[in-house]
Symmetry: D2
Subunit: 287 residues, 4 copies
């Protein structure tokens, strides 16, 4: 796994004080790493420092498996929360869908085109409708029927499946079910949802109808990490498109589909590149 | 007033039925008018037809003062609500401000540059701060101090002033007071406000702080006709700008000022060109 | 074909004079048509009037097959160039591709989703690579190998195919061959191309490389009708996306693919809805 | 000048090798500086590393006047091109104008509003028209009439003025004269121009007319550093706005003015914040 082209990616947050950047970059330099990208942000109000640094492992003194141990003392000194990733370790994704196919299609196309560095190990649905697409892209498709009475059981089966497949990321690609808090807790900041409005406007159901009713001049889409509170999680990406009085709900939906695809695609990409840090129910995109 | 370059502009709404466009355009043609612009919209749900038609009066059979009478029978036949304007009759505007100068500046510059066809007959404020700008642009500046106890009286004086000046349009250019329902009633669909958020998100006070708190990735501004319900009136124009975690409230405000200027300028222009129809608390922009 | 939901769509241009709108709308009204949309534009410099009018045929006095004859005297009186379409007559499209699949995919998805009202009767390529996609969407796939020496012959075969299939519209979805003037002449204003730059900047080959070299801050895509002069045809739609110094050619291409899909999809939709008029190597989008 | 709130800003470029970030951040840390922002970029093709680092000088071991000397050995070791700025040293700007007032107005308003941290020490024009604006903002206004025969002499007088005023930055706010290569050479990468098109499209004169003629669907504005070749300098910022067939040259100009103001304002701000690095006729915006 320690191939020539592999990079290490370190994400960290810690109480703000002098020397963080200096010591982290020194750690990398002293061990023969070459920094490719480095980005910092300080939340001055909260007094917290955030950092993402990516370095080339070609000549690095430690093999990937030993970097964490080598870095631990520095992390402890600065009381860091930190995560270490490797660019050649592909995250394993499960995509949840219901009957709408546009986001699924778009994700699978982007993955196949090499835009999104992930392996889709399962498509999970509460309906069988989209199985032909899964077949075309040769991805296992699992149907778990969800009703009021079977919801709990179905979720447990889904979790079992995700665990057995060692899933890193769950993408809700217009999955029309609300996941339970315990499910969310198992995948904290690892469930990405797409909501078809410019949040916090029009949360909840039928956002395009709400937007049409209000007479807005722009419609939006928002991708966020799912949390216990519906549509209240940390926003990763948003975008909007212009509408006029000539648009009806049907054309809102059509324009919205394009927005949803674009916004979800970007959010998933940022996550897969380990560029998203979450703090205080907000995201920072470090590059 | 019946100069060669004058156009008539007819705005109408009526129950949808066959023949509206045909008969209105025939009325114009039969009387030697040349249609310059014509735009229609049908709200199929409500069964209402909306139309804006603008024609050149150069060879028109009627002088402007007699067009309304000539058109009345047709309007009655189709049970129209209608308004008639003339492009060479400049609307008279009052701009209300408090202490922030960016929208005032921008409006006055646009007016002087010929972008906004109106005459500003008064700038009204609850503070004296912006008088130098009014002086530079040579526009009368009126201060009405507003406190809890004097609010009612101050509003009456403002109304008296507006009436004495025959004001057609009131623009609230970041005026920090809420107008009373009776004031609004006197200027229905003729008070344009700028709210510094993407409505309906973040209505009320301190929208940039709210947006910052929520961690949105785009901030917005909304221009709407003021109604009795705060920030709930018909939206004329909206726009957004991208923000990141690097932005703070200060930069939200700075980016927001640009948005506010742009959005308010566009909304005022559409109104002055008689391109806005209001129905069901929404606007249609007919061109 | 005269089903209840069918509309007639009339596109016309003629020397500007009084009465065009009135007489056209009278023709429709007098024969019991209900105007759904009507849009006009006058090129005052050229003295030409353009009009698009769409009306409901439910109670119309003439069956579709006889409308043209009924309208002809009026058209002659105003010396109109005109075309008549029916909303329930689906245009027949051929999509030309080479090896890149993103535009093809996107078009086929949009068509299947009902966003683009057309029937794709053939996919034509100079390479076999994209056949599996054609198979998945169950559309006949034709390979015509094109080399310097066989180009002329291949084009003739393509033309024969298009004619035998009664193709109305050719979409060049990143087809990497330049069509000959005689081919273009056979499909005047019916060949839509997507060029991956913001024309007129970076016409010709390798536009992303050119853009990268120049250090632009936005990249674009342009959809236009193909004409004899490469990348000089009437522009139907354009859009841009922001890039930074962090982008490289690879990410230009990736961002560009999204732009190309969006811009081509919009242009094809406008054409299929008969909303595009061409004059003086420019397009008007009448709604 | 070493006030509590002052930051030092270091801009550098050097051949790419390991340890640059580590050693620079160590230099700051070891001398008790606290890094506020740090941004890097490597042009892998050219093998050049670029860096911008900003640190709080509150407890820094060196006073500003001695930092350069202290840093020099490190700079030499890595063969850096480098510049050192202090956030409390305000750049001195001269604005060049002709008769159009929109960019001048906008810049002066932004400066007074605190958006652009600079002192305007002179407004230079070849016409007296905009003097009232200069007077209102209380900035010295200098007229240098420029004709074919006096151009050389006028430029020399302008240069003398700029030198006597110790001008750091020249902003061409729709100044309708082309500066000579020798003038440009005196202010390399310190003359910011605004061109009213989306460069490289429509360089040279009358870009809106060119854009109208070509029938583009978006118009643009571009701010760049002036170089010897007209409109070919490194692009700092660009933006676009949508136009339709309904727009004429007049409305192109009006929409364009808004674009020009926005784009020029952003470019000047980036320069004043020392966020722009130039390499290979391109800019990098380091944050």
């Amino acid at each position: 796994m320690n191939k020539k082209t592999s990079n290490a990616i370190l994400l960290l947050s810690c109480p703000d004080r002098k020397g963080i950047v200096a010591e982290v970059s020194h750690f990398i330099f002293a061990n023969n790493g070459n920094i490719i990208h480095s980005d910092q942000h300080t939340d001055t109000e909260a007094g917290v420092h955030f950092m993402r640094v990516e370095w080339d492992l070609t000549d690095f003194d430690f093999p990937p498996s030993r970097i964490a141990r080598a870095f631990a003392p520095l992390a402890e000194k600065f009381r860091m929360d930190w995560e270490l990733y490797f660019s050649d370790t592909t995250l394993r994704t499960a995509i949840f869908v219901s009957k709408l196919d546009h986001c699924l299609y778009d994700l699978l196309w982007r993955i196949r085109a090499g835009e999104l560095p992930t392996e889709v190990v399962a498509i999970v649905s509460n309906h069988p409708d989209l199985k032909p697409i899964a077949d075309f892209f040769q991805i296992p498709f699992h149907v778990f029927e969800v009703t009021e009475s079977t919801k709990r059981e179905a979720e447990q089966k889904q979790l079992d499946l995700l665990n057995s497949l060692q899933v890193d990321l769950v993408v809700l690609a217009r999955y029309m079910q609300i996941l339970s808090p315990s499910f969310i807790a198992s995948f904290q900041n690892r469930v990405i949802n797409i909501h078809h409005s410019f949040l916090p406007a029009f949360s909840g159901s039928k956002p395009y109808q709400q937007a049409f009713q209000r007479g807005v001049k722009l419609i939006g889409a928002t991708s966020h990490y799912a949390t216990d509170e519906l549509d209240q999680g940390p926003i990763i990406e948003q975008d909007v498109e212009r509408v006029t009085h000539r648009d009806n709900i049907q054309s809102f939906i059509e324009k919205g589909k394009n927005l949803e695809k674009k916004v979800l695609g970007r959010a998933v990409k940022l996550h897969l590149q380990h560029k998203v840090l979450v703090y205080n129910n907000k995201t920072m995109i470090l590059d």
